[in-house]
Amino acid sequence: MAGQTLYDKLWQDHLVKSREDGTALIYIDRHLIHEVTSPQAFEGLRLAGRPLWRKDSLVATPDHNVPSHAAERAAGVAGIRDEISRIQVQTLDENCNDFDVVQFGINEPGQGIVHVIGPETGATLPGMTVVCGDSHTSTHGALGALAHGIGTSEVEHVMATQCLIQKKMKNMLVRVDGDLGPGVTAKDVVLAIIGKIGTAGGTGYAIEFGGSAIRSLSMEGRMTICNMAIEAGARAGMVAVDQVTLDYVKDKPYAPQGEHWDKAVENWSRLHSDDDAVFDAVVELRAEDIEPQVSWGTSPEMVAPVSALVPDPAGEADATKRAGIERALEYMGLAAGQKITDIKLDRVFIGSCTNSRIEDLRAAAAVAKGHKKADSVKEVLIVPGSQSVKAQAEKEGLDKVFVEAGFEWREPSCSMCLAMNADKLGAGEHCASTSNRNFEGRQGYGGRTHLVSPSMAAAAAIAGHFIDVRELELQGETA
């Protein structure tokens, strides 16, 4: 018998029951919740008179709607100016109280974007099944977990039964071998992968990211990669457990301790694909071929190396794709064949569950240090992913570097990743953003998003247009 993939093992470990109709009941270890996709689920439980199956599996935090401005934030939930946002955050408070669920409230030390606080607290661990009513739950797969987003009906289903009804996905291996060049980050790797396989390339698959370039990434880099598995159409992305994983998890507040730690490590040591495992699809990239990436269109697959030109739809043979490119260029206000480096920016956003961890902020600060944002750039938002990232950054003085560069240092929230709070793009504005989606209107009505890495975003903030961050470094302009 052929060996098992990491996904096969995680699936097998959580299989409660296979049913004759081809579906399976899969047990869920960790259920993360936030204010946007949980209220209707709690309401459903109430209406049906059902209790939570296992309340210690739940961890809640508000992130999507909470303000990023320190002044508005100071007064807590009551201080949220937008009334419907306030009601939604209050509803999460009430539901967590009524159902006795652990919540990191709006200004509490543990608060942050749900996908940032899971790994950093040890609430999400290797070998777990992790779900959340949020598609970027794939992030937690970086720990060697089976993690994916679910809809609100499934949120309610997991709350009531601790299980999901699932069909097994297919296995895909995305292997990136070789050494990444200087200035090329995890974000560039995942954008290059999506550019290659497309936004539906991973539909129906669980993707394992492997190869020497992935192994050489830090845990935070791996999270950035797995975070965007969903942008390639895959509900789940994952990376095998290795020493990097164990070093990261050790001593996290909710990680196992003492005897449990030893037992856990033994258990986790098998969380990798067997050498003879068979994948349904394999995609390969060479790390050396990957340049810093910039998205030019309205879908994450519409991405190009920073040295490239905006594509010409005339060169696309497929009619639906050609129409898509034409529409995207019109929405983005770009001309076919123009240089990516000629795109001027109105705003810059560094944050989101993709790139708001401490290493991301360090990378941005390293570029920003000693520079000033371009006058033509109206605003540069730096939004740390969690209270603990914020505290760490302040300890290292990164906040000062940003403020000196004319950037704004904000409070942990999703912020302009999806613009549910007050942070938004104006119509027609171009934004260099470290988030994960460049969909029409995502960052504000009529807004134009370009997805990039934190160092590329910081470089663009200084130059006022896209610039190859490697040139900046070669010129010795960065401190």
């Binding site: 309401e43 652990v102 809809g151 289903h157």
Partner: protein
Amino acid sequence: MKAFTRHEGLVAPMDRANVDTDLIIPKQFLKSIKRTGFGPNLFDELRYLDEGQPGQDHTKRPLNPEFPLNFPRYQGASVLLARKNFGCGSSREHAPWALDDHGFRAVIAPSFADIFFNNCFKNGLLPIVLDEAVVDQLFKEMEAQEGYTLTIDLEKQQVIKPNGDTIDFEVDAFRKHCLLNGLDDIGLTLEDADDIRAYEAKRREQAPWLFDAVK
């Protein structure tokens, strides 16, 4: 959940690939804590010429005359004809809620994003995958004939054209069963409560650190 057995309805187009859930229902409407009322804001940024806000009187907003769903001929449509990778992006169930609230009962496309596809079934909305060439042909027929309707027979797993031609489609046995009978799958899963408890007890023994860590 609403049952779905057989449905005949007017067909309307959403003629672009990779329609994401942000486009289906923009984020400002996600602040609602209810499951209903999203219909008027379905495809908000395409349907109206202004920026929509929750709680607004949508009847006073300027409609985009170029958006097909606003054409008189497509009013009352209940079957949406779409392109590849429909429903990609976020997991927001507000997307199927908005489609349902607007009156759609089925969406036909060459492919769907996984989470959206799954969310549809939980809400009595039937996503149907047909070959790209077949979908193309349906687009042509729909455009050529005003008042073009399709009948969807879930029991037989068939889409029936106005001329009586049928197109077979696939659907998972379990999902079909739930939809045909309007079943709540939480109730069904709870019938297996003993299996879940047995699994849980075993798991607690093998991996005790997974339990009671967060309290």
